[in-house]
Structures are given as C-alpha cells and as structure tokens.
Symmetry: C2
Subunit: 286 residues, 2 copies
C-alpha cells in the first residue's frame, strides 16, 4: 500500500525529476503528477518517464493531492506556491527542496492556510549538472536531507515527509531553519562561491585561455567543478542566504589570514600545521 | 631501438613509480633503475614491477645512466642531487618533476658540472593519492608537462626530454622557470591552499564533526579533495613557491571582494555576472 495517494511535484528539474523517478520506482504513491511551465517539459517528462502525468494545469496537477513537493528554483517558489494554493485540499502536505530555509519556511507558513501542512526540506544532492535529463532514481541514496520544522509544524505530517525522504534513500536530520541556513552556508554555499571566485580569478589573468587554463590538472578541475552549475539557480541561493554566506566568508578569510601569515613566515612547522589539519579532516570524509 | 640505454629514477613515489611503469611498458629504455632510500621500497618496487632494478646504492643506480629523473619531494631534491653527482657520466641528462621551478633549476644548474645537462620538468599529474602503490602507466596521458629551459640549457638534451614526456603521453609546453611558477601558483597551488583553508574553516566551526561535516555533499567533497594530499609534500611546494602563491592569493582576494560587494548589494544582476562568468569559463574545461 503506497504511503501517498497522489503526489504532485512542482517543477521537474534535476531534483523534481529524480524524486519523480524514485517515487514511481519505489511505489511511494498511487499516482505521481508533475506541474511544469513549458510544453516541451511535458514531452520530455513523458519521454523520460519521470512522472505518471505531466501537465501545465495547476488544478489538474494538485487537486486532491495528499503531498505536493515544490521543486522549482528558489526565485519562482513563491509564485508557484500562490498558483497552486487555491486547489489544495485541507490536510494536504506541502514540502519543498530549497537550499535556503529561513526565507522559504517563513514565506510558506504565511502563504498557506493552516490546514495545509508545510514542511521545509532540503535534500543535499545534485551536482554541476541540472535539468530533467540529469534525473536519476538513486540521486538521494545515502545523501543527507534536512527537514526544518518550526513551532507551527504538524507533527504527523512531519513524520510522513520524514518517511518519504527515508524511502527515497536519504539520511534525514531535523534542525531549525536558522541552523540549516548556517550549516548549509558553510558546507555548500561557501564552497560554491569560492569555486566561482577561483575560476574568475584564473580567467582574469593575462592570456588566461591560452597560457594558464591549459595547465589545469585534476586538482583545479575537482575544486572548481561546482562553478559550472546553473548560474540562475545559484543567484537565487546566494541572495536568499546571503547573510549566512557573508558570515561564512568571514570565517574563511580568518583562516586564510592564518595561512598567509604562515607562508610569509616561511617556517615549515607553521605551514605544516595547516596542511596536516586539513588533510586529516578531509581523509575522514568519504 | 629504445631512446635511452639506462634510465635512473630517483625516488619511486606516485610520479617516479608511474614514470617507471610507463617507461618499461613503452620500452623507452633498455634498463630502468630506481634509486630509493628504504629497504621496503626495494621490495615494493619488485612486487609492483615499477622498475627493472631498485637499489639504495647511488652508484649502481646512476653510473652510466644516460637519463636521470629526480622524482623526490622538493625538500630532499638537493640532497639527492648531491648524492648522485659523483657518479654521473659526461653528457648524462638530469631532469626532475618538481612543482616549483625557479629554485630547482637555479640550484641544479649550479650544482651539476656543465657537461651534465639539467632540464627542469614538471608533469602536472597526480591527485590526492600518493606513493608507489598509486603508480600507473597512464598517469601522464593527456596531462600537461611543462619543461623550463634557460639560456644554459643544452638544446639536444631538451629535445630528448621533450620526446620522453611525449612518449609518456603528455602534452609538452616550454616556458621559463619564472613563468612556470606564476602559472602553476595560480592553477595548481592556489586551488590547493584554498581547499586546505576551506576544510580548516569548516573544521573550526562549533560542533563541526557532528553538526556540519555530515552534510557534506558532492560540491564540498569535490572542491576539497586535494586537501587530503600528503602534507609534507605540499609544505615543500608551498614554501618553494610561496611568493607566487601569496601573489595568486592577492588576486583571489580581489575577486572575493568583488563578489562580496555584489552579495551585500543584494542585486541579482551583480551576483549573476560573477556566477555566469565562472560557469561559462568552467564549462569550457574538460
């Protein structure tokens, strides 16, 4: 017996599409609907089989759904939420997959009627690839997923969303929207803005294309892979979480000053201390 | 007919070991010797078949060699060069694989007799893995290799070393030792120190191990993979090339200030400009 009767996924990009494929494969709902904004996406969704029914009609997609997963970029989330709001049944659970939670959760708790249960969620999965075509059923397997309940959160619905992400293969953790934003600014957004800055720094060197970039080895390639990500999506993330990102950058710059001081001192033990600490920490992460 | 009669590789780590395996496989020399500093390395070299003969005897390893490749960490290069110096025949070519070239080339050109032909070389290959066990014949395939001739360089010997690295699969480029150090500080050493600083920044957060690091996704993992590298090797590199690394860090910090300003402004077009520039640049690199 599937946990849900009708799931609707709003937005079928990498995350939405992967939820669709995985939910179908694991029979988590009787029917999986996808709400999209372009005709092409309907054709693509059919071809790739990411949902049972893909439609541009908000009513068809969401009416009688017991679970709606908003998987659009952060920047259009509010608009899409407002568009589906009239069709949601009482008791319907709405969740999202956004990378920034304070703003999303605040907005959604205000927007929806209290009998619609909103649960903030952020599956930490994905890569520099994006779009429906990159979707895959195992995207969430072993990946962390953070749920961000508040005082207003319905406990039973939280339990159902928790089970959903576990069923999709995620390791689920609960924390407050604020704690989420701090952690994710450090472990995900900071690496992103650093990779972007590194690429721009190299690209800005004289004769970069011919004289510098051809010497990129695996170190540079690995450490800048995420900079190739979809800029529009990341503009939304950077702006939604900019305060925490700026705070994370401050900690980073503090560490950088320590390393620069060690380099300037030219003392091997001072430099060694930083390199070995990082090496030991990094080796622990698989 | 092999290009060389006897090659001696001084130091059988990841790079030295891989040169050995590849040189044997491609029959680039009649005999490949390895000079090591520990008995265990002789046994390991035999077991892995990285050279024809592994020895701790500098005379046995280098006498009558027509090519000596110094593949030790930067910090012991001078000592090893001095140790083999008495046994080198006139006309012998000596080359290295060090990641910093001004200091190495200056030192070696001074150390060796003019009838020994030193050619600075830097194959940009390898990863966070190190040691003989990680050696593989295809390590240099498609990877850049920079040779750094000076006014003192023997042209014929330069040609031979160039052919060697081409035969090992590298894309060979010539540049001055100073140009090399600038380029490599930017494209290789800068990403390294940034990855190290990022890991230390995260590790320094309160409750990091339990509350932050478990949420590391592919973005963080990719961008910090190099931070797991051998600290000792990187202390040598950081110190040998510290001036250029500090200069590269200045350019990086300049770019970071621009991005921070854009984030503080909270203006989407300002943030978008940086993200899209990086994305376009990074997508061009395979």
């Amino acid at each position: 017996m599937p946990q849900f009767n009708k799931i609707c996924i709003v937005g079928l990009g990498l995350i939405g599409g992967s939820v669709g494929i995985a939910a179908k494969e694991r029979r988590l709902a009787k029917r999986v609907y996808g709400l999209v904004r372009r005709k092409e996406s309907i054709r693509e969704a059919k071809r790739l089989g990411v949902v049972d029914v893909a439609t541009m009609d908000a009513e068809e997609a969401t009416s009688n759904a017991d679970l709606v997963i908003i998987a659009t970029p952060l920047g259009v989330m509010e608009r899409m939420a407002a568009a589906i709001k009239p069709y949601l049944s009482p008791g319907c659970i709405v969740t999202d997959v956004g990378s920034s939670k304070q703003c999303v959760v605040g907005l959604m708790e205000k927007l929806f009627h209290p009998c619609v249960h909103f649960i903030g969620a952020h599956p930490i999965a994905g890569s520099e690839r994006s779009g429906m075509r990159a979707s895959r059923a195992n995207l969430f397997e072993g990946a962390p997923c953070i749920l961000t309940p508040t005082r207003k959160t319905n406990k039973k619905s939280l339990g159902k969303v928790r089970r959903l992400w576990r069923d999709l293969g995620s390791r689920v953790t609960l924390m407050s929207p604020g704690a989420h934003d701090r952690v994710v600014a450090a472990i995900s957004h900071l690496p992103h803005v650093l990779a972007v800055t590194l690429v721009n720094c190299i690209a800005g060197m004289p004769g970069s294309t011919k004289k510098v970039l051809p010497f990129a080895g695996t170190g540079f390639k690995d450490s800048t892979r995420i900079a190739a990500s979809h800029p529009e999506m990341w503009v939304d993330i950077c702006l939604a979480n900019r305060k925490e990102i700026l705070r994370a950058l401050e900690s980073f710059e503090k560490q950088l000053r320590i390393l620069k001081k060690a380099l300037r001192s030219a003392k091997p033990p001072a430099v060694h201390k930083h390199l070995s600490r990082a090496s030991t920490t990094r080796r622990r992460i698989r």
